[in-house]
Symmetry: C2
Subunit: 198 residues, 2 copies
């Protein structure tokens, strides 16, 4: 039984290598090179570890780390959707659920089910852990764009209002991180790297 | 105090972006593209999560995950050293310790000290967690090279004996993972992708 589990786990480990090829719109810090999903997921996990104290509610940090490490694995089948692409649905689409079932389904059943549940919890965004994980997912590109003279905001003509709208969920998890983020957004307007239309 | 912590944490988060530029010798699965340290660290964390049951001793999986996520951060200053490069010392060098102190030292003191300790624990390789984390670090390139027709073994003329010597520490953590690995190594000789000199 154990060795059957092991073969399934190895298959999964090989399959998820593919997220290293999935390019995001956002670029590395101080760079023009797009970030890929594996790098992004690693960075969110590191952010969760060092920023955990700023969560306004108690969180199970192990679960948060698992969430951010796996949150983009469905993109192997479903592809990356740019957060400001209004033509596409960013919520838990059928495509993504099918992808989750196929990819996590490579694992032994119990283990696969656990990761599907954690991914669904992240997508639902209701629990403290999901809120904190999603705050990390919103904060990283904010740090990147402000390090890149506007980055994807300039490239895709995204304005203050849209950015503010997407980022404000950080507040649901951490007032401290939101205050920091709100300042960054406002500073970006002052620096001329984020357009604000009255 | 909290906001002072936060600024230090954000500095650290920006600094560690640099590991995305550090290329390893090993290539992605079924690919010629070298893996970078962020991708590698993400993959080890995923492996630790799905393979934890194969550890022969109880392990604190959160600590293992932290270990593998941070284990290569020192390479931002110290650089990547190829495991089969015999001209260089792979143990905890002065350079790496200096790098750990500088980079983790960007964090609030208590937090930085914790990560330096975890990194040192990984490097020492004595605790159950460190042994399992190191097993992940040995297993990933084995999977990559066998998926890449020999990969770095062929490229750098590494033979069976050297590979066996480096990989056998997997046994210190997991007999099941070692049995699997030993089979893979022997199969590689049979497939002609790993040279065995009698």
């Amino acid at each position: 039984m154990q060795s059957e589990n092991l073969l399934k786990q190895i298959n999964f480990i090989k399959e998820i290598d593919k997220i290293k090829y999935i390019q995001r719109k956002t670029k590395l810090f101080n760079s023009d090179r797009p970030e890929n999903d594996a790098e992004h997921s690693w960075h969110l996990a590191m952010m969760a570890i060092v920023l955990a104290e700023h969560s306004d509610t108690p969180i199970d940090i192990l679960k948060v780390i698992k969430m951010v490490l796996i949150h983009d694995i469905v993109e192997i089948d479903a592809g990356d959707i740019f957060i400001y692409d209004t033509s596409k649905n960013h919520t838990n689409t059928e495509n993504e659920l099918r992808a989750a079932k196929r990819i996590f389904g490579l694992l032994p059943a119990e283990q696969g089910d656990e990761l599907i549940e954690i991914w669904q919890e992240f997508e639902a965004g209701i629990t403290n852990e999901a809120k904190f994980a999603r705050a990390m997912d919103r904060l990283e590109p904010l740090l990147q764009n402000t390090s890149n003279n506007g980055g994807t905001w300039k490239e895709f003509d995204v304005d203050y209002k849209k950015v503010y709208e997407k980022k404000k969920i950080i507040k649901d998890s951490s007032v401290a991180l939101w205050n920091y983020s709100e300042n960054l957004i406002n500073e970006s307007v002052d620096r001329g790297i984020l357009k604000k239309v009255d």
